[in-house]
Amino acid sequence: MADASASPASSQRKNILKTMEIDTRLLGMVGAFIVVCVMFNLLTDGRFLTPRNIFNLTIQTVSVAIMATGMVFVIVTRHIDLSVGSLLATCSAMMAMTQTSFLPAMGVDFGNPLIAPVAIIVGIVTGAVIGAFQGWLIGYLAIPAFIVTLGGLLVWRNVAWYLTNGQTIGPLDETFQLLGGIGGTLGTTGSWIVGVLGVIAACVAIWSARHARIHHEFPVKPVWAEGLLMVVAAALILGFVAVLNAYEVPARVLERQFEASGQVMPEGYVQGYGVPYSVLLLIAVAVVMTMIARKTRLGRYIFATGGNPDAAELSGINTRLLTVKVFAIMGVLCGLAGLVASARLSFHSNDIGTLDELRVIAAAVIGGTALAGGLGTIYGAILGALIMQSLQSGMAMVGVDAPFQNIVVGAVLVLAVLVDILYRKKTGAN
């Protein structure tokens, strides 16, 4: 059986891409991203692709990228969530008030190690509860998601305002701020360790997937293709770590650190930042969300419901409860994004996350999530967020006027979807 189906398949495999079984759509997006980067690098005389700018670009993307992974599930199930920016603000406000007001009132003083974890849990629970509530309105009361979350856009923005009396709350707890980006990084050694562990994990994953197919006597790609895939994965991971490690902590910051501990900085001492904790958080979110999408029943049901809601219902899937779960996941991710966004600013402000709903939806859509439902990938959405952020900050570096920046971003969104439609028409599949 397996042999019979393998032989015609292998004769059809004409080029290297097919043999590698690489998603050409992903390749197109990576290509677009590279073009954007190279273009801005030329326009800024090489300032765009410096370790410093890549570091900044990465930490600026994290908040939107975290939410975009959840938006993939929402859009795949044929819904939409317009409230994510406002929900982020409510979660951020809850976390800020917990650490500056609620906990101190309960006798937990500033600087107490409990503050950061409690605040984070409060933020995540807030997101989960509000998300589940919106999901219940959509799934069980059958109010369209567009309306529920449009209402949520107004409601949660102003709940956040009410919670803080419209004040900017800060500075936030120092441990809490570690998740903001530049304030908390792994350092060079730690980053290399994490990078190597990442490479090992990627290779094991590729190898065990191959092993499972051999075990069931399914056709597999040639060994060299798997090997090449591993080499590419390793190069990407270690290259990323190397770039982030190459961004050195400015000398005056180091001097201050040494002074604070009563030492004198040795001559010629340098220290790289390495991988920020917030980026590790994004990677963890991406891995977990990808596992949910591909390896759990929940993920299977999300995609089945998006592909054919009636079929899912008739197959015994509780699609109403599924809607609640999907929006609860979105809420949790809004909580995490609120954590990263407010920690990066080091305070909670009233306008935090404004217009993030549009960035998040745009990231998911540019990343190949189809609004008709049933199609979308987590890595695509993250790449989409990265492309959006590159455009935005690249134009700012070049000195494009603010109105033109938004005009370009808007046009790119529409163009990206057009290209995607044409691509799907041409290839027929997917």
């Binding site: 390896k295 299977r300 998006g306 009636d310 199609l375």
Partner: protein, 254 residues
């Protein structure tokens, strides 16, 4: 040739269901024995699909009872129906177009690894086994079912019912979208399943097909049961008269 002396596999007794004042099904009783194919005939809107949805769990009857193997069955949703080994092959196929054959076959009943993750490799292996039996030419295990032909999609839907050892199979116009060759394939499959002792309800428009595939035919009109007849006792014209005029053939009128 069908032994109807024992307990019926399914008995729909005095089923009624109304939608906003319209009586879609009006006091209808039909039964089904092991190894038997009962055709449900009628115009569009005659109530045959509605009746059968009370058995598959998609609708809940207002009055009347469903008996499975002589025992009263409580079927509130499609999951309950599955617990009674009732499987349905819907007119619309009920496949998720964006998923592959294995994912569709196991939809709602995925095989999982010991960690609780879905076991795609095992499901694909099982799918290859059962498709090898039902449709040996089937090759497209990796593609979404959207890329399959009507017959291939139908065989995925049928494989789903067969794999989970249905005792009672409901087929809602299984050949409506198929070419002659694929229709023949489905017909052969129905004969196979009969031999295994399954009971099959076959909803169809085509009286010739019902004459050919079924043992008995139940004809409905305007939500009411016109009559249940042995297909060998009637001509296709008799069946048409039952469907159109709602009259039982005179030679059978008692």
């Amino acid at each position: 040739m069908i032994d109807r002396s024992g307990t019926p596999l399914v008995e729909l007794r005095d089923i009624s269901i109304a939608f906003g004042g319209v009586k879609a099904v009006d006091h209808v009783s039909v039964d089904l024995y092991p190894g038997e194919v009962v055709g449900l005939l009628g115009h569009n809107g005659a109530g045959k699909s509605t009746l059968i949805k009370c058995l598959s769990g998609a609708y809940r009857q207002d009055t009347g009872d469903v008996f499975v193997n002589g025992e009263k069955a409580n079927i509130a949703n499609p999951r309950d129906a599955r617990d009674y080994n009732i499987e349905t092959i819907y007119q619309t196929l009920a496949l998720a177009d964006n998923l592959d054959a294995a994912s569709n076959l196991f939809l709602g009943r995925e095989l999982t690894t010991s960690f609780g993750f879905v076991d795609d490799a095992a499901m694909e292996a099982e799918t290859r086994k059962i498709m090898g039996r039902l449709n040996p030419n089937f090759r497209k295990f990796g593609s979404p079912v959207k890329a399959l032909s009507g017959g291939q999609r139908q065989s995925v839907a049928i494989a789903r019912a067969v794999y989970f050892q249905a005792k009672i199979l409901i087929m809602d116009e299984p050949t409506a979208a198929l070419g002659p060759q694929e229709t023949q394939m489905v017909a052969e499959l129905i004969q196979e399943l009969k031999k295994d002792g399954l009971g099959i309800f076959l909803i169809d428009h085509d009286v010739h097909q019902v004459k050919e595939l079924c043992d008995r035919a139940a004809v409905m009109k305007n939500g009411e049961l016109v009559g249940v007849v042995d297909v060998d006792d009637v001509t296709t014209d008799d069946l048409l008269a039952m469907i159109i005029a709602g009259k039982r053939p005179e030679h059978l009128a008692a």
